[in-house]
């Protein structure tokens, strides 16, 4: 049992979750853009692919910036004191 806790403590779960989310996001974004460009008929699907690419890039950058501005030490100290109560 102790070894399981040691194993989970040794991996950075938030980093793994971020990488997993990044992987899923890249796959979905690629598949949507690929379908628009490869199988779309006419100009409109290609323009939609361009709109989606630029907008998702902006949203992803914005989410990354928001992540960097989270005050983790404050949150953890609050959670620590909160859990101590119970």
């Amino acid at each position: 049992m102790a070894s399981i806790f040691q194993f989970f403590n040794s991996i950075n779960i938030s980093l793994l979750a971020s990488l997993l989310f990044l992987g899923v996001f890249i796959w979905y974004a690629f598949a949507i853009i690929y379908h628009f460009i490869r199988f779309g008929i006419g100009v409109i699907p290609k323009l939609l692919a361009l709109v989606f690419f630029i907008s998702s890039l902006i949203l992803f950058t914005s989410a990354t910036k928001a992540y960097s501005q989270i005050n983790w030490p404050n949150i953890f100290s609050f959670l620590h004191s909160f859990l101590k109560l119970y």
Binding site: H35, F39, G42, F52, N71, I75
Partner: protein
């Protein structure tokens, strides 16, 4: 730019086949998902309204901001997934045949086709107030081929499409 000059070529196009007309389903099909996504976009504001008065909110505001942006990113992807399906579900009339592309997901589609010389009868079905006002309906093509009937549903201006098919 080449992107603004894209031709109406399509997958499984035969040699010498030219596109006469391309139609997607009526925009009313997309209205439901778009309204649903707009409502979902308001959800973080509603949650923020209830939790912003809490004493602990200032500690978690950064985290909340991050989760909101990730939520918007997921919604954006799902919205464009629906737009992609709408955009790739097409009816193509060429000089040889009528083709219906049904995109059902990523890398999953069906293609129905009927050759113009096999068409025996085309009927248009417009029923209801909305479909009459917004001019959309179904087209049924009777064919002499192995598959007798073809249904193309919720197409804009079905009478016009019928005229194009019959020449």
């Amino acid at each position: 730019m080449a992107i603004f000059k894209s031709s109406n070529s399509f997958r499984n196009q035969q040699p010498g086949e030219t596109t006469v007309f391309v139609s997607r389903r009526h925009w009313i099909v997309l209205l439901g998902p778009v309204v649903f996504f707009i409502l979902l976009m308001a959800l973080p504001s509603v949650v923020n309204h209830f939790i912003s008065s809490q004493s602990w909110y200032s500690l978690f505001s950064g985290l909340f901001e991050f989760l909101t942006r990730v939520y918007f990113l997921i919604l954006w992807i799902l919205l464009f997934y629906n737009i992609m399906l709408f955009s790739l579900n097409t009816v193509v009339v060429t000089n040889k045949r009528v083709i219906e592309n049904q995109q059902k997901g990523f890398f999953k589609y069906t293609l129905n086709e009927v050759y113009l010389d096999k068409i025996q009868d085309i009927s248009v079905n417009i029923s209801g107030v909305f479909s009459t006002l917004l001019s959309y309906g179904d087209i049924e093509i009777q064919s002499a081929g192995t598959q007798n009937k073809f249904y193309f549903r919720t197409l804009p201006h079905p009478q016009k499409i019928k005229k194009i098919i019959t020449g």
